[in-house]
């Protein structure tokens, strides 16, 4: 599973995470660990791109729920961007599509942070 992070120079609390590959049970826990590390380093405003996530399982959904809760506890926020058709379908089926802030672009997501 690919995991790349981009920081924003004048906004140290923001990080954009690019996930790539299969978000199944094998990779989900690794991803969660790495994201929790970012949060502990002070990145409280996270944008996660699902553009290159070729497969999303219930394990993947669970980590987004867990990350959302963790960020709330530290007054942080989570934005998801670029859900592909498969990811969008799964989010809709489990009725999570309206429970996350989902955007098409990094810019929209970053501008939406309060």
């Amino acid at each position: 599973m690919g995991f790349d992070v981009k920081n924003i120079e004048d906004k140290p609390e923001i990080a954009i995470v690019y996930l790539k590959g299969r978000l199944d049970v094998h990779y989900s826990s690794e991803v969660e660990t790495q994201i929790n590390k970012l949060i502990s380093e002070g990145k409280k405003k996270l944008v996660i791109s699902l553009n290159d996530v070729e497969y999303l399982s219930s394990s993947g959904l669970r980590i987004f729920i867990a990350i959302s809760r963790t960020l709330k506890e530290v007054n942080g926020q989570l934005k998801l961007i670029k859900l592909n058709e498969t990811a969008r379908k799964i989010f809709k089926i489990v009725e999570l599509i309206d429970m996350f802030d989902i955007y098409e672009s990094e810019e929209e997501a970053i501008n939406s942070f309060m």
Binding site: R22, V25, H26, I65, R69, I93, V94
Partner: protein, 142 residues
């Protein structure tokens, strides 16, 4: 004409990709529509994940066998394990209407299996002379 393909692997989570590649390749060869393949792969992954997590308690040396049956009217996937019997009725289905803070974490896997497949049946080790647990999932074509 029905065709059967079989694969045996261990309960190492890395094998989830092996399972997906195996099932996906065969279904593509049999010219199944891509959206149907996608749904079957999702259900198969959820079923295999439950076996890894619950039946084998995340041990990586458990035995898993998958049989894929492809016919003109249906696709059936049976997955066998001889780990701890995992009873789906012991897992409450998720209450989807609850907000994120109040969602129970479990039950999504079985929920998705039942959403993507037309029939999902569990058979338990020790019943009717069975040595293995089996989950059989069927998707009807047409």
């Amino acid at each position: 004409m029905e065709q059967m393909d079989e694969i045996k692997l261990t309960s190492d989570p890395k094998n989830l990709k092996v399972i997906a590649d195996f099932v996906g390749k065969i279904l593509k060869k049999r010219k199944i529509k891509s959206d149907i393949i996608e749904e079957i792969l999702l259900a198969v992954d959820e079923a295999a994940t439950n076996i890894i997590k619950h039946s084998y308690q995340e041990k990586t040396d458990g035995n898993i066998k998958l049989i894929l049956e492809t016919g003109p009217d249906k696709i059936a996937v049976s997955i066998f394990d001889n780990g701890i019997t995992f009873r789906p009725e012991d897992v409450p289905l998720p209450v989807l209407s609850k907000d994120i803070d109040n969602r129970r974490p479990g039950g999504l896997g079985i929920f998705l299996m039942k959403k993507f497949m037309d029939d999902v049946t569990f058979y338990f080790k020790g019943t009717s002379g069975r040595d293995f647990n089996e989950v059989r999932m069927v998707k009807y074509l047409n």
